[in-house]
Point group: C2
Chain length 479, copies 2
């Protein structure tokens, strides 16, 4: 799309005057920067996946979204930031919009800076085991690009096929492989960031080690767009393992499987992935996908091993899990692939449900206890709760549901969110956190206040103010 | 030592009035907090290992060190910080004093807060794979304590037998195993920190994952005492590997060995440790320790493998290193242990030398190039340069020397530091950093300015000011 085309949308009649003035300034002073004027066409920018209406309705002519800028270079990002500051319009940076906590949601009086045109893989350096990428590169595209070098980029949020590296950095995205390979932070060595004054600053390094000054790289990772706009990232790559092996352990009940997880911790094996499925998760997958998991047991620990000595690893894991009552099978490559496909895409509903997806993390010794407390929450709030967990790092994703039945889908019962809050309190009670990997955004702001002390949050706000004194970037989010 | 004993030193006559007043206030208002008054006995607190005089001389009665406080609880640390702020005396936090960049050096007009009495291991939780420790715990003591659980704490700076976890956190200490297990930052999950206003704040989490708010934990790690005082840390433990294996590869020259390092990167093997010794390092170790390394070759890649499939790993590594001209041997346990002992303690001088030890890190593909440029620096500054490297992560430790001979040892030639600066410029020229793992402290402040842009350093100072507006903590250091 050319700039002219981009600007050609029909501007909403009731757009804010300062936003209209900003749009006009883009067109006259920076015609090379593509924009989309506030209009019905930009309405989707009001939401990410965590805040989009669960019941879709057509956009009326009266509704409109924010102004959107689509810079194609770091320098254009600088121009965008300076112009937004000049007009007093706050900035929401947006990657692929796949976030689940509202971090990329924008009001009509804001400017969205989309990184979708900053999507180049600038360099792959196999002997340094790094890649240099722009933020709009899709996670899966980076992995496809570096695979011929025998390398992979480890962070693998469930959204890896659609989420951007910049968005992954903004949320410090996790995924399945984190217990072994770390979260996004462990794979980001350096960043180029545009600050609120429009300056471009390089932080971090290209070597694995480097301790010159404060670790600004880690501070920007996971900062959910409140400190600056990442325009370039140096990320760490790793060699593709010499072997991978899927192992399943089915148990006779959810508590038996949840307790069985500790056997992995007590063993010498550290799998690349450990996923735990409780009974309702298995039943739900079978109903939605036609699989037959529940016939094999009432709960499932699904493991991926990788690296050297894979047979020895599988043996030790089998011994450990059989000792706690697991029915263990070393899967064929084909069966293993089918299981991971079910893990990623096998869940869904056979009838309409109200739904809340949660993202709590707890010390992993407490996982079984958290599962055991689902029943009381289900009963109290008349909801159903199931959870698949990244059990290797204590990260649960409870799904809280209630059938819609004959009710109006828009008439969402408050009990779902109340049940979610109850789960959050349970997680905090065992030393956990309100967000394992999705971020705080707007959705979890109240819960963050339950976890973090006033002094902690005051410190966070002070750090934000130090880098962004006027509150230009993503105000009201994350902290 | 009781408080009374601690206070019993003879106070230096010329101690600053505000420091004297502060010492008196401790004695009257917080008699339970042990202190050491400014005196000849506290003179060693003026230095860490990076700034201590290279030529020892007796301390005269005219010299004195700073006031030292030795709090035994987090609450006492809070009292100490509040009192120091009240009297306008700045605070230098000190662990074991083993730092190499001056971060813990204190002037006589400052207050040293020593963490040596905060030395308890509060908890080991094998099923969470974490330990909770106070900052004064010695790195090696933590590992001894957790070994019976089958666990280890991965960060292993060369100083691990004498350095404290708090000091390791302050410098984001590296070590030998970092390429595989990460630096200190990757092993710190949560911290309790006393801030400049005396408040105690908990940051981070006990689960592996957690993204609630800005990553303050990572910001404190490596902040060299300028942001707060760590009083408790939750650190990550890992299972002791099922096997370890030492492998050597000798080469016919330094360039051949340095170039051979890339063969490891191109292979599928990721050793836990990869150390590279150039020719003068081997010669020097033989001369000092009576070993016979140089007879086996002119440079050495010393590798530790660990984990499953150790024989297969050793095989693949052997094939890779023989293909680039290495003479490879899989060492016996006994010979392997002897080699690691030489690595850690085998270096020294057989005749008096002026000496500068450096700590640069470069993208690992550039290691061979950096070694190749030693000759020009040796010639220009009339010094000898040798370097052992943590080659797996690109971290070189060049030793720059010149024999003292008949000269006055105190008459240290400027060329040593000039040669060090030249090496720093070479590292920066290939995309490296001025400090791989020792920190900036005072020693590398000028060099940090060569690496970091003005805007970067301004951002760091703004962050410091946000948490410590009066500059109470370690002023003039690190940033």
């Amino acid at each position: 799309m050319t700039t002219t085309e981009a600007y050609a949308g029909t501007r909403a009649r009731d757009a804010r005057p300062e936003v209209v003035a900003l749009a006009d300034a883009f067109a006259t002073r920076f015609p090379e920067i593509a924009i989309r004027v506030p209009s019905a066409a930009t309405a989707p920018y009001r939401y990410d996946r965590g805040t989009a209406p669960r019941v879709e309705s057509p956009i009326s002519d009266d509704e409109h979204g924010p102004l959107v800028a689509l810079p194609g270079t770091p320098e254009q990002v600088q121009d965008v930031v300076r112009l937004a500051a000049e007009f007093g319009v706050s900035v929401v940076t947006r990657g692929a919009g796949s976030g689940l906590s509202g971090g990329a949601s924008a009001r009509p009086d804001q400017l969205v800076v989309s990184t979708e045109r900053l999507n180049r893989i600038l360099e792959v350096a196999p002997l340094d085991e790094v890649a240099v990428v722009e933020p709009g590169v899709i996670n899966a595209a980076l992995n496809e690009h570096v695979a011929p070098f025998g390398l992979f980029y480890a962070p693998d949020p469930a959204s890896f096929e659609i989420s951007s590296i910049g968005g992954n950095i903004a949320t410090n995205a996790g995924g399945l492989r984190c217990a072994k390979y770390g979260v996004t932070r462990e794979s980001v060595l350096g960043l180029d960031v545009v600050l609120a004054d429009g300056s471009l600053v390089s932080v971090g390094h290209r070597s694995i080690k480097g301790v010159t000054g404060l670790d600004l790289t880690s501070l920007f990772v996971g900062s959910e767009g409140v400190l600056g706009i990442v325009v370039r990232a140096t990320v760490r790559l790793r060699p593709i393992p010499v072997a991978r092996q899927t192992v399943t352990a089915f148990f006779e009940s959810t508590p038996a499987g949840a307790s069985g997880l500790a056997a992995i911790t007590r063993s010498s094996v550290r799998p690349s992935v450990v996923e735990f499925f409780d009974e309702p998760s298995l039943t739900g997958i079978d109903a939605f996908s036609g699989s037959g998991l529940r016939r094999r047991g009432a709960s499932l620990i699904l493991v991926e091993l990788d690296g050297y000595g894979i047979a020895e690893q599988a043996h030790d894991l089998t011994v450990a899990l059989e000792a706690v009552g697991g029915t263990v099978r070393v899967e064929s490559d084909e069966d293993g692939a089918a299981l991971w496909e079910l893990r990623r895409h096998g869940r869904g509903f056979t009838e309409p449900q109200w739904f809340v997806g949660e993202d709590i993390a707890v010390p992993k010794s407490r996982l079984a206890e958290v599962y055991a407390r689902f029943a009381e929450v289900e009963q109290r709030y008349d909801v159903a709760i199931s959870a698949v967990s990244h059990a290797g790092d204590g990260n649960l994703h409870p799904a809280i549901t209630r059938p819609i039945g004959d009710a109006d889908p828009a008439d969402r019962p408050a009990e779902l969110d109340e049940a979610a809050t109850e789960l959050v309190r349970i997680a905090l009670g065992v030393g956990g956190t309100v967000s394992g990997e999705h971020g705080v955004g707007t959705v979890k702001l109240d819960w963050a206040a339950l976890e973090l002390s006033d002094r902690n949050r005051a410190a966070q706000r002070a750090l934000k103010a130090a880098l962004d004194p006027t509150g230009l970037f993503n105000p009201g989010k994350a902290i």
